[in-house]
């Protein structure tokens, strides 16, 4: 069982978190939505996995490259 860090692609505000610890996700499923450049930008699962940890809360500022979630593959 390996851990995969999901990093934010862009700098933005965490607007909506759509999963919680234990949620099973498929590649490209939306984990959370960030707001940046006046757009709602989804953060997606890079591979089929199970959500292990959400590292941010709604309203937080996420920097580009910051780990926002941990997934177990």
């Amino acid at each position: 069982m390996a851990m995969v860090e999901v990093k934010s692609d862009i700098t933005g505000m965490v607007w909506k978190i759509l999963v919680k610890e234990g949620t099973k996700v498929a590649e490209d499923d939306v984990l959370m939505i960030l707001e940046s450049m006046k757009m709602e930008i989804p953060v997606v699962a890079p591979q089929d996995a199970v959500v292990k940890e959400i590292r941010v809360r709604e309203g937080d500022h996420a920097a580009e490259g910051e780990v926002v979630a941990l997934l177990q593959i």
Binding site: D9, I10, M37, M39, E40, I41, V44, Q47, E64, G65
Partner: protein, 511 residues
């Protein structure tokens, strides 16, 4: 019968060569569900079309002659859907298909024939790298480098690689030089194996991490597509080739237009959100624009804020470079730049017209990109775009900001530019623009901020661009497919029968 003995000798030698590395090794592969070198060619090529070149080649070293049937690489010619191709299939059961003097000559020969006779070259990779002890010491260097064009890529016919096992040495080098690479999951490609690497760096090394499908499809971009089986890989090779001509002196083959291809575009207004804050997956748009089921995406897991896809329009192959707002809001990062540039080179080299579908807020700004040399990648793209001699059509759907406006076919960087009425042109996002131009943020003076933002927004509607003839048409989104069909028909370069000048044929294969 006359010649009886020598004919029997021939038959015996041929039979021995066809045994490859022997039944034990072949049985092991069968048990693992992995095809052998000759089975792969049987599956890939039209029945009965394979003409082998060099069945009786062996190692140049006398002591290894009997252990090296076909010297570990099966080469020759065949047909795929009736079209001639040249092939090299690595035989891992023979000395790991390691590279040697004689099989190097085979590859060189087949490459030359492919070039001169105008056939795609297909390399089925699975090789252990350099052959030992041949390559040891100074005399091991001395047998190398006899062909100064060995690693030159001058794109005259398509080169396709399939990575079907451990790939070191020639399988890897040729994959990097190829126009399209498919990899079977579980296969690996790297400069050195995980075992050798672990010895060199004195740390355990995981083979998948070093050179597996996930690394190469998502991080390096050296592999276009990953599949689960040998058969699927070979099917993908055939599928890719169906979009391309056999050589750069002809147009790609045409196909019939599936029934119902004109229907999906009628629903396009439901696929692209009118609200500028909403994102969507542009593949939905591409599927509406192209002939039904013709979309064939390259590097879908790499540089995802752009989609690079082959497809057909009215039966003719086209290449589509489309912003995908679903990823990073469509802002273009360093990987997407490299992907777009490679795709321009592929299309231009093989006489495939290019369609840009634009909805991007500019190049992605940030530290990561700068560390990776973003400006250099942006300029590579512009440089390549300037050398394209196939028709380019650019359609702006929603946003089109910044320098990337040019990279996506803006101004004289495309032959025709059209826009949807929802198009929004400018230097940067209006909210940031107010800050940059007037030095105020929304929370400082909300009334003034809103007024200034709407002023900027008015200037960014497409009408002034059309007024200045910088976009030749503003079209109803539902007319996009018919517009593109008409324009590409008109813009076919009839004086050369659609054949481009191929100024990108020697462009680097990666950067």
């Amino acid at each position: 019968m006359a010649f009886d003995e020598v004919l029997k000798e021939l038959e015996a030698r041929r039979a021995k060569a066809l045994e490859m590395g022997g039944e034990e090794k072949l049985a092991k592969r069968r048990a693992q569900g992995v095809m052998n070198a000759r089975e792969r060619l049987d599956y890939l090529l039209d029945a009965g079309s394979f003409v082998e070149s060099g069945l009786l080649a062996t190692s140049h070293r006398p002591e290894a002659r009997d252990k090296s049937p076909a010297d570990g690489k099966v080469a020759g010619y065949g047909a795929i859907q009736g079209r001639p191709v040249a092939v090299v299939s690595n035989d891992f059961t023979v000395l790991g298909a390691s590279s040697s003097v004689v099989n190097g000559k085979k590859i060189k020969h087949v490459k030359q024939v492919a070039n001169e006779s105008g056939m795609p070259l297909i390399l089925l990779g699975e090789s252990a790298g350099a052959r030992m002890p041949d390559r040891m010491g100074a005399s091991g260097r001395a047998i190398l480098g006899q062909d100064p064009t060995e690693y030159l890529r001058d794109r005259r016919t398509p080169w396709v690689s399939a990575l079907l096992g451990s790939c070191y040495g020639s399988s890897t080098w040729y994959a990097c030089l190829s126009d399209f690479v498919v990899m079977r999951k579980g296969a690996t490609m790297a400069v050195a194996s995980s075992r050798v690497t672990a010895l060199a760096i004195r740390q355990p090394v995981d083979a998948e991490e070093l050179g597996g499908w996930n690394l190469h499809t998502a991080t390096t971009g050296l592999v276009d597509v990953a599949v689960d089986t040998d058969q699927q890989a070979l099917d993908v090779v055939k599928h890719f080739l169906s979009y391309l001509p056999s050589h750069n002196g002809e147009l790609p083959p045409t196909a019939s237009v599936p029934e119902g291809s004109d229907e999906p575009i009628k629903n396009i207004l439901e696929i692209v959100p009118e609200s500028r804050s909403k994102v969507y997956d542009v593949r939905g748009v591409i599927n509406c624009v192209l002939d039904k089921d013709s979309i064939f995406e390259l590097k879908p897991r790499f540089g995802k804020s752009l989609v690079t896809s082959l497809g057909r329009l009215d039966g003719n192959t086209v290449g589509v470079i489309a912003s995908n707002p679903k990823f990073k809001g469509g802002s273009i990062d360093v990987d997407a730049c490299a992907k777009a540039t490679s795709f321009l080179v592929l299309c231009d080299s093989f006489n495939i017209p290019i369609i840009f579908l634009v909805d991007q807020p500019g190049f992605l700004i940030g530290l990561e990109g700068e560390k990776r040399g973003a400006p250099g990648r942006i300029m590579n793209w512009m440089n390549a775009l300037s050398l394209v001699t196939v028709p380019r059509v650019s359609i702006t759907m929603r946003k089109n900001y910044g320098q990337a406006y040019l990279n996506m076919g803006g101004g004289r960087n495309s032959e025709e530019a059209a826009a949807w009425p929802s198009a929004d042109f400018g230097f940067m996002d209006p909210a940031t623009g107010v800050n940059v131009l007037y030095g105020i943020k929304a929370e400082d003076d909300p009334e003034r901020f809103k007024r200034l933002m709407s002023e900027i927004a008015q200037e960014s509607a497409p009408w002034p661009l059309a007024g200045l003839f910088e976009t030749q048409a503003i079209i109803d989104p539902r007319d996009t497919r018919s517009y593109l069909k008409q324009i590409l028909k008109i813009r076919l370069r009839r004086p050369t029968n659609g054949i481009g000048a191929h100024r990108l044929s020697c462009w680097p294969t990666s950067y």
